[in-house]
C-alpha cells in the first residue's frame, strides 16, 4: 500500500477541503486535533509515514484490498456494497420511552452487544448543546443517551483512538460511511505493526447522504431558533425535502433542504458510499415509516448478533418491501456514481505509481460500470 505521512495528509486532504472531519487522525498523537467540527494540525510532524495518513478515508483507499479482506471478493458495482440480507427493523418494547432517530435499531443493537459482552465498549456520538461529541460508553444504559442523529459531522473516531489507548479490544462503533471506511482501514493493520490485534468488535454503519459543516450550521440555525431549546432534528426520507427541528416548547420548525444544501461541505460530494458498505450491519431510515429502519446485514458477525438480538427480544425484524429496496438502490447508486465521476474527473482515482497520491483505487471494470 502507498502510505505517506502527515504532511501529505495536510496537503492532499485538509488543505484541499476534502476532510470529512471523521476523527480518524485525531488524538492518535498530539498533532491532529478536532475543535467544533474542524480537524487541524497544531504543529508540524516530520514523519514520512504515519497512522494519520494510513487511517484517513480520503487517501489511498484501496477498495479491492478492503473488499478482499472483509468480503473475500474484489469491489463490485452493487450500489449497496456486499451484504447477506436486507430487512426492516425496530427496537423492541423494552426500549419504549427513549428517544431514537427512527426505529432505534442502532441503539438496541449496541445496547444488546454491550450487555452481552460482544463488545467491551461502544464508541457513539452524543452532544453538548448542538455540538456532536464523541463518547466512549461502557454501560448499556448510556447507549440510550446517545440516541438520535446529529446532522453535523462529528470526529467520532477520535474516541476509537482513545478507547484503544485505554486498552479496549472489542470496541463497538456506530459510524457514518466515511468513518466505517476508515475503521476498515485501521483494522487491516496498514502499517504492519508487529504486535497489532484487531481492536474492533462490531461496526454498525448508518446511512448518510451528507453531514453538515458544524461551523456553518451553528450560526444558520441560531439565527432561526434558540439553540438551547432544540430537542431533536430530523430529515424525513423523500419526498419531504425538509429538515425538521423540534424544540422544547413542543413546536416544530421546518427548513427546506434547499436552504441547507450550501452548508454541506465540499468533502461530502466525493463520498461514494451511502450505506456504510464496510460495516457488519448498516442502518437507515425506512422510507414511508418513521418508526422503522432499513437494516442491511453484511457479515457473519453482524448476522449472528442481529439474530441473537431478535431471539432475545431486543429487536424486531420484518421483510423489506421490494419498492423500498428499489428506491434505496437508486439513491445509493446515484450517490456512488456522482461522487466517483467527480473524483475521477479531478484525477483522484487510480493514479499510477507512488508519486501521485490517489484518493481511491478500484479495479477498472467496476470503475467503468459505476461511472458509465
Amino acid at each position: 500500500m502507498n502510505i505517506s505521512g502527515p504532511n501529505e495528509l495536510l496537503e492532499n486532504v485538509i488543505n484541499r477541503n476534502l476532510c470529512t472531519g471523521c476523527g480518524a487522525c485525531v488524538d492518535l498523537c498530539p498533532y491532529f486535533k478536532s475543535y467544533r467540527g474542524k480537524t487541524t494540525m497544531l504543529f508540524p510532524c516530520t514523519l514520512p509515514q504515519g497512522r494519520c495518513f494510513a487511517y484517513c478515508p480520503r487517501l489511498e483507499v484501496d477498495l479491492d484490498y478492503l473488499s478482499g479482506k472483509y468480503f473475500e471478493k474484489p469491489y463490485n458495482s452493487d450500489p449497496l456494497g456486499f451484504y447477506k440480507s436486507i430487512v426492516t427493523s425496530r427496537a423492541s418494547e423494552k426500549f419504549t420511552g427513549n428517544s431514537f432517530q427512527a426505529g432505534g435499531t442502532v441503539s438496541a443493537i449496541m445496547y444488546f452487544a454491550l450487555e452481552r459482552g460482544y463488545i467491551d465498549g461502544a464508541v457513539l456520538t452524543g452532544q453538548e448543546g448542538i455540538l456532536p461529541t464523541p463518547r466512549i460508553v461502557m454501560n448499556p444504559e448510556d447507549v440510550l443517551s446517545c440516541g438520535s442523529s446529529k446532522y453535523t459531522a462529528a470526529p467520532t473516531l477520535s474516541a476509537v483512538n482513545r478507547a484503544i489507548e485505554e486498552g479496549l479490544n472489542r470496541i463497538g462503533i456506530v459510524s457514518t460511511p466515511c468513518q466505517a471506511l476508515s475503521t476498515a482501514m485501521l483494522r487491516a493493520n496498514p502499517l504492519e505493526e508487529k504486535d497489532f490485534t484487531d481492536p474492533v468488535g462490531l461496526v454498525v454503519g448508518i446511512f448518510c447522504t451528507w453531514a453538515l459543516d458544524f461551523r456553518a450550521f451553528e450560526p444558520f440555525i441560531a439565527s432561526r431558533v434558540d439553540i438551547n431549546t432544540i430537542t431533536k432534528t430530523d430529515i424525513p426520507p423523500p419526498p419531504a425535502e425538509v429538515m425538521e427541528v423540534y424544540t422544547s416548547d413542543g413546536s416544530k420548525l421546518q427548513i427546506p433542504l434547499e436552504e441547507i444544501r450550501n452548508l454541506v461541505p465540499d468533502a461530502c460530494s466525493y463520498c461514494m458510499d451511502m450505506t456504510s458498505e464496510f460495516s457488519d450491519i448498516s442502518v437507515g431510515v425506512l422510507e414511508g415509516d418513521p418508526g422503522r429502519n432499513t437494516l442491511i446485514i453484511r457479515t457473519e458477525r453482524g448476522k449472528m448478533i442481529v439474530d441473537e438480538a431478535v431471539r432475545e427480544g431486543y429487536l424486531i425484524v420484518d421483510d423489506m418491501p421490494e419498492i423500498n429496496l428499489e428506491h434505496l438502490k437508486w439513491a445509493a447508486g446515484n450517490k456512488k456514481k456522482k461522487a466517483l465521476l467527480k473524483a475521477h474527473k479531478e484525477g483522484m482515482v487510480n493514479n499510477p505509481g507512488k508519486d501521485k497520491i490517489s484518493y481511491i483505487r478500484l479495479n477498472n471494470e467496476t470503475l467503468e460500470e459505476i461511472i458509465a
Binding site: 498523537c29 498530539p30 478536532s34 475543535y35 504543529f43 516530520t46 514523519l47
Partner: protein, 651 residues
Amino acid sequence: MSYLTDNQNNDYLLMGNEAIARGALEGGVNVASGYPGTPSSEIIEALSSVAKERNLYVEWSINEKVALEVAASASFAGLRTMCVMKQNGVNVASDFLLHLASSGTRGGMVLVACDDPGALSSVNEGESRPFARLVEIPLLEPGDFQEAKDITKWAFELSEEIRNIVMIRSVTRMSHASGNVRYERLPDTNAKADFRFDGPLSDPETGPVISMVVGISELQHVPQQEKIKKAAEIFEDCPFNTYEGPEKPELLIITSSACTLYSREAISLLNVKDRVGILKLATTWPLPPRLIKKYLSVTDRILVVEEVLPILEENIKILAAEMAHEIGPKTFYGKNAGNIPSVGELNPDIVVSALSTILDVRVESVSESFVKEAAALIETGIPVRGLTMCPGCPHRASLWSIHNALEMDGRKGFVCGDIGCYVAGLWPGGFNTVKTLHSMGSGSGIAGGFGKLRQFGMDQPVLSICGDSTFFHAAMPALANAIHHKSPFTMIILDNRGAAMTGFQPHPGTPVNAMGEAVPSLDIAEICRAMGATVEIRNPFDIEETQQTLHHLIEHQEGTKVLILSQACALSPERKDNPKYRMKVDEEICIGGNCGCNRLCTRIFGCPGLLWDEEKGVSKINDIMCTGCGVCADICPAGAIKREEVAEYVG
C-alpha cells in the same frame, strides 16, 4: 557600609553604571527615579541599595515619563535629582522632557540615558542623542569609567549653572564593562526641599514653574536658548574634552563615548600614533565651536568615529561649513563616506579597517588561519539553540495554550505582542504566535484597533499579550480606549510578578518598592474590572484549563476581555531552587520519535529541561536545567513524563 559609599580617595573597580551612581552620590543627589531597562537598570539598583545610608529617595516609577516627572519635582524644590532610563525610555519620557527643557530646572537635574547600539538587549537600536538637540539641552558622553563618575558629578553643577536639565548618554559597553575609578569625597546629606512659587512668572528661581507662556517666546524660548549658548561657552574649556596625538596629524579622529576606547586600540594596533590624533569629546551637544575650529585646523582629513547614526559627524560638518573660509576645505571620513557602518556596535576591528583604508596601511589583526580554526571550533563545540525561554518559564506554557487555542479555533486568529521575555513568541520557541511587535503597551493598542476593523470585514480573533509591568507602564490607556470604544479583543496579561526581564524590579503590582519598603500593591484584575473588562484569572501551568478558557474567550467575539495568566517567573526568588516536582521520563513508556509522538517534548515544546537521547531513542530530563514546573507531564501524549512531589517545596 557599601563600597559605593566609601568616603576615602580610594580606587575601586566599578561597572560603568556603578561609576555613574557613585558620580551621582559625589554630586550630592537627593532623589533618583527610573524605569528598568537594559543596559541602564544597575544605576537605580545601586542607588537604592544605599538610599537609607545616604538619605536618598529612590524609586522605580511606573514608566519613564512619570519617572522624569518625579525627578523634576525634586529639582523644582531645589534638590539634586537624577532620572535613569534606557534609550527607548527617552521616547516615552520625551513629551515631558520637551516641556521640562522649556520650563528649566532649579536643583541640579541629570537625565541618564543608556543606549544599546546593536540592540543587544533591546527591540531596536534607536538613539537618544537626537533628543538633546531636539529639546535644546546639553549632552555629555563619558569616554571611560573614571569619566562616567566625574562627568556625572560635574553634570549637576552644570545643570545648576545653566538652570536646565543635562543629559548624559552611556552605551552598553560603557554601562556594563568595568574599570578603575578613583573616588572623591561625598558631600553632606542634609538637603531641604523648598518649592518656591510666590515670585513673578519671569523669575526662574522664585516664580511658578511652567513650560509655555503662549505667544511670549521672550519668557521661555529665548532664555532657554541663552542657556544652551552658555553651555557651549562652558564646554570650550571643559576638561573632559581632550586631545591626544601629534601636533599636526595626517588624520584627526573625532570621537566620543566607548568609541574612544576602540579608536585608541585601533591606532595602537596599526602603530600609527605619529600619524593620527584623537579629539575625544565629552560635550557632544552643543559642540564648542572654538575648540572644534582649533582641531579642524590641525589637519585636512577628519574621521568621525561614532556608533549608529552620524549625529556627531553632521554637527561637526555644519561647523566646518560655517568656518570654511577660515579653516579651508576638509575631507571627511565616517558614515557618509562609508568607512564606518551606521548600524550595530563598533569595535576596534571596524576602526582598524577604516584607518587602514584611509591611511593605506595593512595589518592582520588576526591571522586568516586563526579565523578559520575559530569558526570550525564554534561549529563543533557550541550546540545550536534557537531563541527560546528559560526552563520552566510560564510564558512557554501560556504561549503553548494560546497557540493551540488559536490553531484549533482555525479562524486565523493572531496575537499582537509586546516588549518582554515573551517576544520569543515570534519564533518557534514561542510557537510563532506573535504577529506584531512594537513598543511597550502597543500590542494592546494595536489589538484594540484591529478589533474595530470588523466593519471592514476582518473577523479573525484578535489577542494581545503584555507583561504585568508593561500593563502599568503603557497598556492601561490602551485597555481603557478599547473598552470605551467597545473593541472586541482579548488582552492576555502574562503576570509573572515583577519586571522579570530586567531583574525583578518592583512595579505597582508588587508589595515592595525599590528601597525594600512595604507599599500597597495594586490588583491588576480589580483595575481591569473597574475599567469594565470581563476578567478571568488562570494558572498557565494548568494547560487544560487555560486552553478551555481561551477557547471560551475567543469563540464569541464580543466586548473587551482580559485573561490574566498568573505564575511566577522561573528565575524569581520564590521559584528559583524551589522545584515543585522531581521529573522523570519512563523510558519504557516514551514513544520517542515514533508515530504517536514524534518527540513532541524536545522537538516542539522545547523546554531546555528536556533532552533527546539519540542512542536510546527516548527523551530524558536534564536535572540541572529542569525547574520542576511539571508542565511537560501534561503535554506528553503517552504519560511517559512523571511528576513526583518534592517534599521540601515551599508553596
